[in-house]
Amino acid sequence: MSAAAEMVAIRDLVFHYREGEFRLRIPQLSVATGETVAVIGPSGTGKTTLLNLIAGIVSPLAGQISVNARQIAGLSEAARRNFRVRNLGLVFQEFELLSYLNVLDNILLPYRINSALTLTPEVKQRAVQLATEVGIADKLRRNVERLSQGERQRVAVCRALLTEPLLILADEPTGNLDPRNKGRVLDILFDYITAHGTTLVTVTHDHDLLDRFQRVIEFSEFHSGNQESAHVDGKADAAGGGGDAP
């Protein structure tokens, strides 16, 4: 896979927290541009840590992480934040909406918390458009505390998509949703990705959803650094994502 075709490229990554036994070692992992990847594995294996490393929220002790050919680990904290808000869309299991803001203000939040983005009437229009597409346009002025779980996650997805990110990192985005809302949220994400060629890396415990992803990474083998590479299921070859086979 060429560097330009790689959205995420990880080489010889080593990470552990200051306290605790947790160790993460990833010799090589890459995600192609436009690829949809599900990361699965038992709790505590570092799936969420992987997303945080890719997003530049935490930095590795050794190794390289590049996103869209940009070395993340070498950037300053401020530069990583700017890069993140411009290029990445993050979706969380617990939605992580601000309870004191209404739906529209939550969607527009990235534009209010970093001057790297400029809030324009076009952006607001795009926010309304996204809300319309996910079926919450009639609730734009409603406080998010008065929304259902499914509606809250749709707001969180709109927030992640508003900046038109190159890469979406979703941490169990359907973990708190009923089956009907699970399908709906994934439809929204996949429709967007298909339309915009965006890359998606999703951490999930829900094996029923794996069929929708082009590639599935079994992450447990990275834990404690006792394996040299990731396990990738048979779909990896079909999707063209390579280099991670055992």
């Binding site: 945080n52 997003a55 929220i57 904290e77 401020a78 934040r81 700017n82 890069f83 993140r84 808000v85 411009r86 990445l88 993050l90 969380f92 992580e96 601000l98 309870s99 004191y100 803001l101 203000d105 939040l109 990235p110 534009y111 209010r112 918390i113 970093n114 001057s115 790297a116 809030l119 406080n143 927030r159 992640a160």
Partner: protein
């Protein structure tokens, strides 16, 4: 910056109960010492200005503070009476001008001040509309009385009965308003001025009725004892002094024994002042002479002492409140840790996130201080009213 302020405002507006409590706490912390200081300064000015302009006051023995407060501001309880003969005593000394005051009665909430024309000259009070007191029964009103009661020359005011249950007591007297005084920004603006003799009529010491020697009055006569006529209760007393009945008004008894509440004494010079004060020092003396400036100074010292205690208490309470407010902010930050982490995760600039939190705190402080400023301004604007209610009443 506008995004920072917007997010801070949304947070404060969403948590309006918490915000309101914090704002009120900050407002009180700032307002209490500042407002108190403003009030004390204003008290000092209000109390000393008029006291300094009043050299001496003679009154019945008793509380000099009560005597001075009543004579200068007409607000506190009427002090014990002294005889009008004391006015003559001062005048006859040749050392000072004596201005009698009689402040027992009211027109609604406004005091009726029975005095002489010398009072107007002494206080520098000018008639803005109408004319000065001329005949028995006339009254001139202060500017605030005119505005409050919506009256002017040609209108009437009626003295208020002291008690509706006191049938044998003071009857209301209807008085024509003949003049309105110009604003003096002193307690004189809130007073109704009458001649001392009119005050005595209100007190029932003088009255007017039909001439009992005329045939029309015969049904009311019980018996005649020489020049003395005993009448029954059917003889009607006039409750208004008019041009037609003014000659029927008369006083019974020796006017030197009639009451005044105080005498403003204006000595001709310092020596005369010292001599006069010496004359009222005797043990058997039934009257006292007070220097209003000294009496007010004593009162101010008391107020300042109280202020010191109150400010000390307010500072202690303020520090406790500030500590509590700080604790609330810190606990709030702890509760909002996830929110802050979320903003950081999606790429919020550290400066922006910190600025939002700082703006929330600053917002509470600014609103609290602004409200304290408004309260202080109101205290300054209505200081006179507050001082009257708290100190002079």
């Amino acid at each position: 910056m506008k995004h920072v302020l917007y997010l801070a405002w949304r947070y404060l507006a969403h948590h309006r109960v918490k915000t309101t409590i914090l704002v009120i706490a900050i407002m009180l912390i700032v307002f209490l010492p500042v407002g108190l200081r403003v009030l004390v300064k204003q008290s000092e000015r209000e109390l000393t200005t008029r006291a300094m302009a009043t050299p001496l006051i003679v009154g019945a023995k008793g509380s000099p503070l009560e005597l001075v407060l009543n004579s200068l501001y007409f607000e506190s309880e009427s002090p014990p009476y002294l005889n009008h003969g004391e006015v003559t005593r001062v005048t006859d000394s040749g050392l000072a001008t004596a201005i009698p005051l009689h402040t027992r009665f009211r027109v609604r909430q406004h005091p009726i001040v029975g005095t002489s024309l010398d009072y107007f000259a002494f206080r520098g009070l000018a008639v803005a509309a109408g004319r000065q007191l001329a005949v028995l029964g006339d009254c001139v009103v202060g500017a605030e009385v005119a505005a409050d009661l919506d009256i002017g020359p040609g209108d009437f005011v009626v003295s208020s009965p002291e008690s509706v249950f006191d049938l044998a007591g003071v009857y209301p007297l209807k008085m024509p308003v003949v003049g309105v005084l110009a604003h003096s920004h002193t307690p004189d603006d809130r007073a109704v001025f009458v001649d001392l003799k009119t005050a005595w009529v209100i007190a029932g010491l003088g009255h007017g009725h039909l001439d009992m020697s005329t045939p029309e009055a015969a049904p009311g006569v019980l018996r005649r004892e020489g020049s003395k006529v005993i009448a029954n209760a059917s003889v009607m007393q006039y409750n208004e002094i008019t041009a037609e009945n003014i000659d029927d008004f008369h006083f019974h008894g020796d006017t030197s024994n009639f009451p005044v509440t105080a005498i403003i004494v204006v000595p001709h010079d310092e020596k005369a002042s010292a001599l006069l004060q010496g004359r009222y020092l005797g043990e058997a003396e039934q009257v006292q002479i007070a220097r209003p400036a000294e009496v007010m100074d004593d009162l101010l010292q008391t107020i300042l002492t109280v202020q010191t205690y109150v400010v000390t208490a307010v500072i202690v309470v303020g520090l406790a409140t500030l500590a509590t407010a700080t604790l609330v902010f810190l606990l709030s930050l702890r509760l909002r840790r996830r929110e802050i982490v979320t903003m950081v995760k999606i790429g919020g600039a550290m400066g922006r996130v910190t600025a939002v939190l700082a703006a929330e705190i600053l917002g509470v402080l600014v609103i609290g201080v602004l409200l304290a400023g408004i309260l202080t301004a109101l205290t300054a604007a209505y200081g006179s009213t507050i001082i009257r209610a708290l100190i002079l009443s």
